[in-house]
Symmetry: C2
Subunit: 208 residues, 2 copies
DNA sequence: ACTAACTGCAACACACATGTCGCAGTTAAG
DNA sequence: CTTAACTGCGACATGTGTGTTGCAGTTAGT
């Protein structure tokens, strides 16, 4: 996939495997600061020579793909450990939110790579999307989501909220706190449930 | 600001002004297809020589700034014509949503330029942000927004929803339809108001 | 019509990231 | 210990975007 010598031929030597890991982590950090950073910068951050980067990842795009792949793998794990298709919808959704929130802060830059081609349908693994959709559908069937809402919109809103939360969230704040906020907003919005139309349509103090 | 001859010295000739407009529009369209597109591509799309682009915008970054500036100007107009500080909060918010939704589809690429440095605080004009915040605050005072919600979060959610809607929305669909959807989701979320905890925590059909 | 301004064209210098290679030294694996 | 594999280093070729300049031709403004 991402690295040049085909895995099928022979397992990589231990230090080579470590180099790959170091490069990926370094790339994440460097690209977080500057998405158009040089591979030279990535190499030095990883503590390897630039040539080594090219040995492990044939091109810049190849490295990019590897980063996206990392996200999808971690996301898959998060989905799996949230038991999205066995646990009660509400708890599964909550678990997934917490995990994704953490994933977002640790791999900001790589995630941005995904968001950019979000319109292209490329980026996020379709399998991950369908798992999420299945969970949302199950949530709707269980009465958690309003019947009229269509799943793609629900998914979009959910991911948008997570994105927003991870953007605002400072690193020392707990993920669960923000997960609560996301869930609350997702399900109930930020409006007051007992709308008082008289007040809402009243003129503001300045004009009255 | 954006163009090389200082405006203060003498007004630009009519065709020069037109060139600037053509270039900005072309840049928007070209960058929408490929954010890292060449200035050559922008020039040909605008029907001018590449040198002319450099005459009007000293550097690539300068062009970028001009695009961001365009957005902020149009956003300012949208805020003004929505009467964000005189109209009832609900209608002002709705008006603003419709306008922004259209702005988002016509200037996708330029808006993305803003989103990228969203973390840097640069990008969106602080003045526009404070006007929006004021509207949200007024909405909260009027009882439209739940009392506990803090404004930055409200703003973030609002903009995230608009972004999501503009991403999904196909060009032929009406802005008002999506504005309704955004407002609905913003205020009430996508959850069922009458949560049935028994059902939500029930095991899924597969395990029962 | 006259003039200043703007444009197209074409060439140039420049910087810089990218990708490739070979060699010598080091490291992990059996 | 022996060997195959991996690394660092340095050099090279290459492509490509960028920004600049000069000149001749065209256009808008008065």
């Amino acid at each position: 996939m991402s690295d040049i010598p085909h895995r099928s031929s022979r397992p990589l030597r231990a230090d080579a495997e470590q180099s790959i890991a170091r490069i990926l982590i370094a790339a994440e950090q460097v690209f977080a600061a500057d998405p158009s950073a040089t591979l030279e910068a990535v190499a030095s951050a990883a503590g390897v020579a630039r040539a080594t980067v090219h040995r492990r990842f044939s091109s810049r795009d190849d490295l990019r793909d590897a980063l996206v792949n990392t996200i999808n793998t971690k996301l898959r794990d998060a989905i799996a450990s949230a038991n999205t298709d066995t646990a009660p919808p509400l708890v599964a959704l909550y678990q997934l939110t917490v995990a994704t929130l953490d994933l977002k802060v640790d791999w900001r830059a790589s995630w941005q790579l995904i968001d950019l081609d979000a319109t292209d349908q490329r980026g996020i693994d379709p399998s991950n999307i369908s798992h999420l959709d299945a969970l949302l559908q199950r949530s709707q069937d269980a009465g958690l989501l309003r019947p009229g809402i269509d799943i793609p919109w629900a998914r979009g809103v959910y991911m948008a909220l997570i994105h927003e939360a991870s953007t605002i969230r400072s690193e020392d704040e707990s993920a669960s706190h923000w997960a609560n906020r996301v869930m609350q907003t997702l399900l109930s919005g930020i409006g007051d449930n007992e709308h008082n139309l008289e007040a809402l349509l009243a003129q503001p103090p300045t004009s009255d």
